[in-house]
Symmetry: C2
């Protein structure tokens, strides 16, 4: 895997370092109170360059989280073999188990860098505009989940029922992550997520 050096002027900018500086500023004074110009100065780059690497304030916070849907999809298909385990008659065979496994797998990388992740999630949960910026990611994950659920319960992915189930599961999952970010629970986020999904499944029995 020889990384071919691309032509042109090499970047003097370390996006991760900039994001970290910005996150600290946000944590101390609030997202809306920190100006992009300030961040640029604190990071030692021009305002314009800051905007080239991070097209918005929210982008500084979401960072590299935006590939979570690929991990989700990969995890889902890798949990397939277990389908022989629980085969109930009604509606959801091993659906909830697969959802839990897939979500867990797609989230697990968060456990490593707990501090920064907690901060990121907290900022996202606190600021609606920042949360809104992740809409595309949520849409992609929802589309994947909808396809799977639709197939499982035998309904079109665009039906109200499938949409409602997807929204319920995604909503509960995000709520679990947000809760973890805002509390001091020492467990890794995966376990909290798992508890939430378990509670969801148990609430209607």
């Amino acid at each position: 895997m020889e990384q071919r050096r691309s032509p042109g002027r090499p970047a003097e900018t370390d996006p991760d370092a900039i994001a970290l500086i910005a996150l600290r500023l946000f944590a101390h004074r609030g997202v809306d109170e920190v100006t992009m110009t300030e961040i640029a100065q604190a990071a030692g780059v021009s305002r314009r360059t800051l905007f080239r690497w991070f097209p918005s304030k929210a982008a500084l916070i979401w960072g590299g989280t935006l590939e979570a849907d690929e991990r989700f999809e990969a995890a889902w298909t890798s949990v397939l073999p277990h389908e022989a385990a629980t085969g109930e008659a009604g509606s959801s065979p091993g659906l909830m188990q697969r959802v839990r496994a897939a979500y867990a797998a797609s989230i697990s990388p968060l456990g490593e860098t707990s501090d920064v992740t907690r901060l990121r999630l907290r900022l996202i949960a606190e600021n609606p505009a920042v949360y809104a910026w992740g809409h595309d990611l949520r849409e992609r994950m929802a589309a994947h989940l909808a396809a799977h659920i639709a197939e499982t319960i035998g309904m079109p992915p665009d039906s109200v029922r499938v949409r409602a189930l997807v929204a319920a599961i995604s909503g509960a999952s995000y709520a679990a992550l947000a809760w973890w970010a805002q509390h001091d629970d020492p467990r890794p986020p995966v376990e909290v997520l798992d508890e939430a999904l378990e509670a969801l499944a148990a609430a209607f029995e």
Copy 2:
């Protein structure tokens, strides 16, 4: 109910008319493509006054929807008497039924002005930034629901479980409304919402 006339200069502005003009512009050219200055001109008011009546673009779209939490709370307490009906052992006595009734009641006024409501909801669902603006409303409704659920299942309102259930229910409800807005289903929104909540309850049995 004699409406006491307040002192000061009477308003020459009809906020509903302005909102309607704005909604039509949004529908035709997209929210982001219409400028507040344009709306002001089209409505025959100064830019400054437009901003006085509607503090943001999103406010033009959300309109008077922001008291839905009060209707929700009122509806919830009014459905109380039914509690003697279904008293299961496990976790949720008549909880899902009460949730459905309360949501239905808090949403029912939407059925009357279907066209504009559909448009509003569609714009909200299409534009994350607009959706984000309703965050306070969602928080208030979530707080109410959390209190009720917490009481019902005997867990603190701040626990992961309660948070997850609240998020699931609210998420599914909003998904149902958004679905109704984006499709041509002739049913009133209440029925679609009801179907969604029913599906949610049925999915885990």
